[in-house]
Each structure stands twice: as structure tokens, then as C-alpha cells.
Amino acid sequence: MQNDDILITNILNGNMDSFSTLVFRYENRIYKFLIKLTSCREDAEEIMQDVFIRVYNYLYRYDSKWSFSTWIYSIAFNSFKDYYKKKRKLSSKKYDYQTGDYLETCSYMEEDYETKELYAEVVKLINSLKYDQKTALILKHIQGFSYNEIAKILGVSSDNARMKVLRAKKAISDGILKLKRGTEK
């Protein structure tokens, strides 16, 4: 299998087949990232088209000292921000929670109603996070990005990236604890 650098060199020499290979290689990952961010299939698909068009048009700017996956995720993050700026859906703090038509459960939850409910609440809380915290959280778990790589994608410091992930998890667990206390009363 050709590595990313060979594919990129081929694309820059006008080879469109290499671009197709690159798209097939990354589209699932990018889609997963975007759908977690947007919670909406249509938005994720639209942003993904923009991501790959940008990748193709600006590929000559790619600096091989970065890993290509970091570069493509940073393009995806910027496309996501631009998309919501355009649609004015992205407020400075939070953006609208969407139910998510792809919401899945896993086998161990199927019989456990309480866990299912808890899972739905967790998803709600994740979707109500500040968009940068949510992005950091998703990046941390999607490809196991290091805080350094997350920092590069978000354009912040490594410590700042770590704090964003931690704050996201704290906000979720605090939200669940608050919910539980409310139910008990």
C-alpha cells in the first residue's frame, strides 16, 4: 500500500487515481469526526465535500513535516467552523443540540434501560459542549491523537488542548451527577 506522501506526490503530478485512493483512505474517518461534531448527516456530508475539495486545491501547501492525518483534520475543523459561521449556527459559546438520527447503542446496553437513558443524556451533554472542547474530546478518541497533535489541529498549546479534553469530560460527568441528584430528590 502506497503511503500518504507517495500519493500526495502523484496527485501533485496530476494523477487523479492517487487522489481517489487518498479520499477512500480518509473519508470514513473524516465523516465520523464530522458527524460527531455536527450530529447531523446532511451537515457532515456537506462539510466533508468541502474538506476534500480543499484538500485537493491546497495540497501543494501541505508541509510533509506534519503528518497528513493531522493536516486533513485541521482542514476538517476549519471547514466545520466556516460552515457554521456561514449558516450562523455556530454561536460563540455553544451550538444547537441535535438529536442525531444515527444514535447507536451497543450490545451491552440493549437490555439495560437505565444505561440507555444515561447514554442519551451523555450524548446530549456532549452536543451541548463548547465546540472547541467537543472537538478536542472527539480528536482525542477518534484516532488516539496526542495532545500535541490536537494542539496543532486546533491551533492552541498542548497544555490548552489537554485542558479542553479534561474540561469536556468534567462538564459531562458534572452534568450526569447533577441529573442523578435531581432524580433522587
Binding site: L12, G14, Y60, L137, I138, L166, I176
Partner: protein, 375 residues
Amino acid sequence: MRCKYNLEDIIKYAEKNLCKEESEEIEEHLKSCDKCNTIYNSINLTNHYVNSNVNYKESVLHSIEKSLDKKRYINRKKWLFSIDRFIVNNRKVIRSTLTIACIIFIMMLFFKNTEIDFKEVILSLKENVNYNEAGAGDAKEQDIPSEKDEEQDLLGEEIKEDGVDDYIQSPDGKMFAKVVRRDVGIFDSILITDKQEESYKVVLENIIYTGINDFYWVNNNLIALCGHKNPSANIYVVVDAYYKEIIGEYYGLAFTWNKNKDKLYYVKTSPHFGSVSIGDKIVDTEGNVYYETDESELLTSSLAISEDELNFVFFVRESNAYGYKLVIAKMGDDKKLKKMAELNTSYGEIKFIDNISFTITDIEGGIKKYSIEDL
């Protein structure tokens, strides 16, 4: 009981980042601590949600194909991409360099403007004070206070008080001059600066001590400086700015230049020996003596000369009386003044209107006009 584990510990446990002993401890703790258990569950569910797979059925490639310029990397020249790439990859350095360049440019503009302002200040000073009489063609009566002289005296005060803004520009604007103070009350040199901004000092040491009454450009080359050698001796110093040297030091009163500014007339006062007065003279700087008083009268600082240098009008004072007499005299062929008329009138500033008529402005501001022919 307060729980000893915090969020980070639970996260580490959930993500299996703890050693076996620590993991077992927390596992045991979770059985009994509802709060930590809830946190653990929410972390687990968060990780599960973020990691969960999503089915993506159709490749994005089909939908973007039309938007791609397939010949983008074939048709375009690669060096254009290289330049663009260089700019993008080095944008921080380029931005910093441009910022520094802008700061330097703004600073250069600022200092340039400061220089212009300085020159404007000098020009406005010149306009306000109107030191130079050369262009106006007026005969100048130095020692009779006039409105103009008052302004000059004001500037004289400025020179004494502040040696910074007392530059005076020559009539043609090519040179500047200022008096430089060496010590309190002692003005030791004139600093002359030409257009090339080269400065020269003309040393005045031991010439003027007690003050400067007047300091002005006679013409484009000559600077006059009027002051006191000591309280009882007036001195008039002429400096050639072009050759940077003192060309004359004259003791006396009523220094008056002719029209062409090449001859300086003045009243040379004689020293008094006790109560005995020897007599004063109207002279020029070439050594000619045009008029000499006898011991009964004294010349004053009020003297005017017609433009053709033929008619002289001046006040005399009788040595034994307090009154003034106006004397009208004509230049003879022998270069001596011949008294044509004497008039008892109030003392004042004499000014020629044309070659045969003049005015006298008395101390109270009253102006009387006279014609030599009538007298």
C-alpha cells in the same frame, strides 16, 4: 466520608492508564462510591459515543468530482505553487518582518515630520518677529523704541531665557543664526548654520556682558548684535555670516544703515571726564566724521538719514538743559553736515517718508509730519 479519588483518576482508570494495584483499588472503590461510579459510567459512555462507528454508504468522491479541476496540477506552473507555499509556510516570519518594517517606516515618517515642524517653527518665528529689515527697505532707527523694536526686545528676552528656539533665519532663508550662552549673563558666541546644516561658531567672548537689546540680519550675509559692553557703553557688533567673522565692533548710539546696507552711520559718544564734555560725533564705519557737537550739546539716540544720504535729521540735547532740539542738516560736498534748521519739538522717533519729508513719533505716540523744504 470524603472520596479520595478525583476525576482524573477515574478517567485514567476508564482509559486503562493505571497500574494493576491502582486499578484494583479504584475498582474496589467504585463498588461502594456511587458518585465515582456515576462519573466512571459517564466517562465510559462518552468514550463509547466518541469511538462508535458510523456507516458511510456512498463515497464523497462522486459528489465532488465536478468541483475538482483535474488539470490543476498539470496546467499550472509549479513555481507559482512554490511561491504560494513559501508564503503560507513562512507567514509568521513574513508577518513579523512586515510589522517591523512598518514600525521603522512610521518612525522614519515621524522623525521626518518632526524636522519639518522644527523648520516651520523657525519660519513662523521669523514671520512673527520680523527681525530682518533688509527686504522692507526701511531706514532703521535702532535706539528709539518702536513697536517693532519692542517685539525684537521680546525676542532678545527669549534669547536670554532660552537658548533653544532663538534661531533667526537670514532673509534668503539660506542660513540660521542664534546666540549661544556660555554662562549666566555672558553670551559667548553666535552659532551660524548654513543650508548644508554645517554649523560654525563666531566667538563673542569679552564683547557683550550685560545683555542683548537687538539681534537681527542686516542682509543675507550680515548679522547685527546690539548690546552693552557694560552698563554705560552700548556696543554694536557686525558679524559676517558668510566668512564667519566679526567685522566690526562699534561703541555708540543710533546705528543706522544706508539703503544698500553697505554703510553704517552712528553717533559716537565721547567719554565724559568729570563735568567736562568734549563733544559727540556722527560718523560712519569707514571713519568719516560728518558732524561734531561742541561741548554745549550732546547727540542722542534719535537719528534718521534720508535714502539718498543727503539729509540728516537728529535730536540734540543741550548739556546744561533738559530740553531737546531737532536739527536738520544737509550733506555738503566736503562730506560734512551743514545745519539747515533747528526746531524745538518733543523728542521722538524720526522716520523719513521720502528724501525730503519725515515724521516724528513722540513718546506718547503723537505723529508730526515735516518737510525739509518748509523748514
